[in-house]
């Protein structure tokens, strides 16, 4: 297939934005010259977007402004923040009207608390990791229960019950060095020991939810 002669792709660029806050172009020119004098090389041929929102709806001669900037070897790409009338003027001058992209509010990544237990969990004991993962350095005995809203990692044998994704997290997993569980459950889907024996090929395993059913993968531990 021949290569198409053109392609349309979206990209984003970082542009300098020049804010015009004064209707009086002579004052603008004076201040601009002062700025350019500080770093003339930096501004030569620099693409600029002119932001007119600082004018608060006051009129300005866009053609004169364009002339003012191009004469100082600045390249105007377009205008932004302009009123309807100013937008029309810009259009007449062959300038694009650009909308500033909305800055997405920065949300801190959701950090889950990991509960670490450095001992064997004995029969009759219950450990619950609320809103997070559970890591156990030791074995979980028959008749013991380990529960987490997130995933469960057991560096030892799992002989009791393990319930991951107790709050409904379907991405939770159960990992154990030796899978001999009485029951494993992720987000409510469960296997009893006999199901587990059918599915668990090796000794170590990772159990997760795929669709509506649990699957187990052996681990190269």
């Amino acid at each position: 297939m021949p290569k198409p002669s053109l392609e349309l792709k979206g990209s984003s660029f970082t542009l300098s934005v020049l804010h015009i806050n004064n209707q009086d172009l002579d004052a603008v020119a004076a201040e601009l010259d002062h700025k350019l004098a500080q770093a003339p090389q930096f501004f030569i041929g620099a693409p600029l977007v002119v932001n007119l929102s600082g004018l608060d709806g006051e009129e300005v001669d866009v053609a004169a402004l364009k002339q003012l900037l191009t004469s100082r070897q600045l390249v105007i790409v377009g205008v932004t923040g302009a009123s309807a009338a100013l937008n029309q003027q810009a259009k007449d001058q062959g300038l694009a009207s650009i909308k500033a992209g909305k800055q997405s509010p920065v949300t801190p990544p959701q950090v889950r608390n990991t509960k670490i237990v450095k001992q064997n969990i004995r029969s009759g004991q219950q450990v619950y990791a609320k809103d997070g993962d559970l890591v156990i350095f030791g074995a979980v005995g028959n008749g013991a229960e380990v529960i987490a809203d997130g995933s469960i990692h057991i560096y030892g044998a799992l002989r009791g019950k393990a319930m991951a994704g107790a709050g409904g997290d379907r991405h939770a997993v159960i990992i154990a060095q030796s899978m001999e569980a009485e029951l494993v459950s992720i987000a409510g889907q469960y296997w009893l020991a006999e199901n587990l024996q059918q599915h668990c090929p090796g000794k170590s395993g990772c159990i997760r939810l795929e669709g509506e059913s649990l699957i187990v993968e052996s681990l190269p531990l």
Binding site: Q119, N120, R122, S123, G138, G141, G143, A144
Partner: protein, 269 residues
């Protein structure tokens, strides 16, 4: 500083009282002043095994309630002068054991004795909880079968969460496994769990393995702790256990099947 040792198991009939009597006697024979306390209030057995049931006048509950002082209730063993027994009450129940009362009696005993053995009742109720609450060392007595192992695991959980050391965030109780009624023949035929199986599941250091032996029943019935019988495998195994408790490093005996001799094979054993 006296060491408080609890002999516990969760399950009944695994040999807690037999082991308590044997280990207490063993410690005393090694020259340590030892007292063994029967926590099985209402089902008093230790005095029978120790052969001192006819000398019980006052008991543990009497001391807790202030009806008798310790010296009146302690029974001195006839065979070993460093050994004392504090018998249980046969007419009360386990609720007579209060944390304050038991703590006070143990504090008083700690002033005089090197080792205080607490013979726990079966179960996980008040009696068993009080027996393990103040312990420094726990000897978890287990038979090589699944229900006993499961119950021992449960008791280990209790030791780690319900004891004084756990509640006060002190150094945890030292836990040891004592495997009793072990029969190498039945292990070999797959009827019993092996030492390795039990050790792997419970994951605590092995203190000793006591072979299944006729001599245990004989010793119990005659009121002589089996450790006195140094002719028997069980007696020797308890001696080894006591030595390990005192810090000796000994190999485990009696865990492999005895090879039958030529004549035995012909005539049967």
């Amino acid at each position: 500083m006296a060491q408080i040792i609890v002999v516990t198991s969760g399950k009944g009939g695994v040999g807690k009282t037999t082991s308590s009597a044997a280990i207490a006697t063993g410690l005393a024979l090694q020259g340590h002043k030892t007292v063994v306390i029967d926590f099985d209030i209402g089902l008093r057995n230790l005095d029978l095994i120790m052969g001192c049931e006819r000398r019980v006048v006052y008991d543990f509950v009497n001391v807790i309630n202030g009806e008798a002082n310790l010296n009146q209730a302690l029974i001195k063993d006839k065979r070993c002068e460093k050994l004392f027994v504090l018998p249980a009450s046969q007419t009360r129940d386990k609720d007579a054991l209060t944390k304050e009362g038991v703590g006070r009696v143990l504090d008083d005993l700690a002033k005089e004795f090197d080792y205080i053995l607490c013979d726990s009742p079966a179960g996980i109720e008040q009696g068993a909880m009080m027996a393990l609450y103040f312990a420094d060392i726990a000897i978890v007595t287990t038979n090589p079968e699944v229900s006993s192992v499961r119950d021992s695991d449960r008791i280990l959980g209790m030791l780690q969460s319900k004891s004084r050391r756990a509640e006060q965030n002190l150094e945890p109780i030292k836990e040891y496994l004592l495997l009793t009624r072990y029969s190498p023949t039945r292990v070999k035929s797959g009827e019993m769990l092996s030492v390795e199986d039990v050790s792997e599941i419970l994951a605590i250091p092995l203190l000793g393995v006591i072979p299944e032996s006729q001599s245990v029943l004989k010793a119990s019935n005659s009121g002589v702790p089996v450790i006195i019988d140094q002719e028997s495998d069980a007696g020797l195994a308890y001696s080894d256990t006591v030595a390990r408790l005192l810090g000796e490093d000994l190999p485990v005996r009696f865990i492999t099947e005895e090879k039958k001799g030529f004549l035995q094979r012909i005539f049967g054993s």
